[in-house]
């Protein structure tokens, strides 16, 4: 059984490594192989993986994690303004500051559980959002958003060419450097920024995997199941939940720092409650408490947001051109509300279907399909179906 878990982990890690490294090739046929979107896949993947450490393991549903994302972004941009355009100090500061924020917010919010905890985190996040727009304008630049300026000190960097804003980089590589390769008729774009995000996603996925398999992770799962019993078992649950909260806050801060590294500006709208809600959707859609689920959920939601939202009626019409003329128009009229500006409708329907029919998320769906195929075509594996469901695939 323990060997089994180790093997599963190797499979999981290989899967994520291949997915991340080959993303430009895998996503190009789906029309999603451009750097901007791939960066977002990886960044929101990190955000969701971190959120899952809190929500998936302990069951504490935070509605304020976008605050840490925003704090990370602001920290990173300040580092670009003051110190250097190298992304390493920016990301380190983003993680530290968001970790401190998470410590404070978590310390207060975790005095309550259930819905009261969720409301407290939501209140804190909205507070941060509104402060960023008002009182904290000197730090956040309010509505314009925090941007680079020509007269920033950047004490570590050599002076730049006059009149040109610098781009974030990593020892000579710039985040927006892209190599385009033609491959069987497709244009594959290999972008430095994406691979920075992707490698971090792999590393942080591994960290999450180790947490899931550690005694610490087991304590967190025990908190989700029966916190009372854990208290009467001699465990002080408060520091465990706080540690999980801070870790997930640091993941969010790192994601925010990466966002700013890809595009060096930070705005308060990143902290809005809709952004906090989005990561909850990602994790639930993919499968809360599973390892791969959050990455998958983040991918699906970002894909919808960026690809579905751009499909207009011409695109839809081209799908149905083979039909008789009247029918084509009829089909376009039916599909119209679900694409383009109506992409939220499709996403909402998919989300409802997943929550109702696959409470374990897309990962549960994938497991069922694999199980079905296994039973159908490989009689050898049939005895496995009687096994207890693995808590984290």
């Amino acid at each position: 059984m323990l060997n089994n878990i180790r093997n599963n982990d190797t499979v999981l890690m290989s899967l994520i490594v291949v997915m991340v490294l080959a993303a430009p090739l895998l996503l190009a046929p789906l029309g999603a192989g451009y750097p901007d979107l791939m960066q977002r896949f990886a960044i929101f993947g990190i955000f969701a993986v971190g959120f899952n450490i809190l929500f998936g393991l302990t069951g504490y549903l935070s509605f304020g994690h976008a605050a840490f994302l925003g704090v990370g972004s602001y920290s990173a941009v300040w580092m670009f303004k003051l110190l250097s355009m190298n992304i390493i100090p920016a990301i380190i500061l983003a993680v530290i500051i968001s970790g401190l924020f998470a410590l404070i917010i978590g310390y207060v919010s975790l005095r309550r559980s259930g819905i009261y905890f969720s409301i407290l985190t939501l209140a804190f996040a909205q507070m941060s959002f509104n402060l960023a727009y008002s009182v904290l304008t000197p730090i956040t630049a309010g509505e314009t958003g925090l941007q680079l300026a020509l007269d920033d000190p950047r004490i570590l960097d050599a002076p730049y060419e006059a009149g040109q804003l610098p781009t974030p980089g990593l020892f000579g590589l710039y985040m927006n450097d892209t190599w385009t390769v033609n491959f069987i008729g497709m244009e594959l774009q290999f972008n430095v920024g994406y691979y920075v995000c992707g490698l971090l996603l792999i590393a942080l996925f591994y960290v999450a995997l180790r947490i899931f398999r550690s005694p610490f992770g087991m304590m967190l799962r025990a908190i989700k199941t029966n916190q009372t019993r854990l208290n009467y078992t001699g465990v002080n649950t408060r520091p465990y939940t706080l540690a999980a909260f801070v870790i997930s806050g640091m993941y969010a801060g790192l994601a925010g720092g990466l966002m700013a590294s890809m595009d060096p500006l930070a705005g308060a709208e990143r902290m809005q409650w809709t952004a906090s809600g989005e990561v909850v959707l990602m994790v639930i859609l993919g499968g809360a408490g599973t390892l791969l689920g959050p990455v998958l959920g983040a991918g699906v939601i970002k894909y919808f947001e960026n690809i579905f939202s751009r499909m207009n009626d011409q695109v839809v019409e081209s799908w149905f051109l083979w039909m008789p003329e009247g029918l084509t128009e009829f089909m376009v009229a039916i599909v119209h509300p679900f694409v383009g500006k109506g992409w939220h409708l499709s996403l909402g329907l998919i989300f409802m279907a997943v929550v109702i029919f696959l409470p374990g998320g897309l990962i549960e769906g994938a497991n069922r399909i694999i199980g079905w195929i296994g039973r159908r075509f490989g009689s050898k594996k049939t005895d496995k179906s009687g096994e207890a469901p693995a808590p984290a695939e």
């Binding site: 059984m1 323990l2 878990i5 180790r6 180790r210 947490i211 398999r213 550690s214 005694p215 610490f216 992770g217 087991m218 304590m219 799962r221 025990a222 989700k224 199941t225 029966n226 009372t228 019993r229 854990l230 208290n231 009467y232 078992t233 001699g234 465990v235 002080n236 649950t237 520091p239 465990y240 540690a243 870790i247 096994e387 207890a388 469901p389 808590p391």
Partner: protein, 252 residues
């Protein structure tokens, strides 16, 4: 000096005097039963031992230290474990995981940040948990999810979870409640064996007189929040005050 000394404990809920000047002296390595009719205050008394309730007045001393004002996890770390009336277990986790958690809590204390150690490397903890599960008769069900077990097995699991911590004092709240006769007898045998094998003091709350008289070294009878008799089992059955409390023969 007993291992658990309860003196003049009072607890009032609104107009109800749940515990009325309760005194209790539990000797080390004995089985001490607390019996009494429904509503006598047995569970309230137990809740005062584990930090779930704080008595209005009185003292609860365990092993020479006061338990009052300590948090539940501190009381457990001091050596007191409890089996609840309805099994409190980690229903989503497997039987072996359920038992490894208390073992970790005993070894690592109330909190330890160890996010990068692997559970699969914790061979000692696993071996201890397995040994205890075999001991209570769950050796075949290590990988079963706890929620899928029968009530009797859940209770056994909870016993294993408490015993793997090697507590000094184990509180059992109606360990045979809702069990079939055969299961009850198995549980009695198990408890008897554990009492003789391990250095544990048991405090048992029980309705079932068959269980009480098979196990207890000493019995306290609680009625209306008050200890009316404390004596050896042989002297309890025929005691007029006990008869009165159970049968309600009001001898005015």
């Amino acid at each position: 000096m007993g291992i658990l000394e309860v003196q003049n404990v009072n607890k009032r809920f609104g107009g109800l005097q749940a515990l009325d000047d309760v005194n209790l002296n539990v000797q080390e390595n004995t089985v001490h039963a607390i019996i009494g009719p429904n509503g006598a205050g047995k569970s309230t008394l137990l809740n005062c031992f584990i930090g779930k309730l704080i008595p209005d007045t009185g003292t609860v001393m365990f092993d020479g230290k006061s338990l009052l004002g300590l948090k539940p996890h501190q009381i457990n770390q001091a050596g007191v474990s409890r089996v609840f009336q309805t099994p409190e277990i980690f229903t989503d986790l497997s039987v072996i995981e359920n038992t490894m958690i208390p073992a970790f809590a005993r070894r690592d204390g109330a909190f330890k940040l160890h996010p990068f150690e692997r559970i699969s490397d914790e061979k000692d903890i696993r071996a201890r948990a397995e040994e205890m599960l075999v001991n209570v008769g769950l050796g075949e069900k290590l990988d079963t999810v706890a929620s899928a077990m029968s009530r009797g097995d859940k209770r056994r699991l909870e016993m294993a979870m408490c015993l793997v911590q090697q507590p000094k004092l184990l509180l059992l709240d109606e360990p045979t409640a809702g069990m079939a006769r055969a299961d009850t007898n198995n549980m009695i045998d198990l408890l008897k064996r554990l009492a003789s094998e391990m250095d544990i003091t048991f405090v048992v709350i029980e309705h079932d007189m068959h269980v009480v008289f098979s196990l207890a070294d000493r019995i306290s009878v609680l009625a209306q929040g008050h200890v009316i008799v404390e004596d050896e089992p042989g002297n309890i059955k025929g005691h007029p005050k006990v008869q009165e409390a159970y049968l309600g023969t009001t001898a005015h």
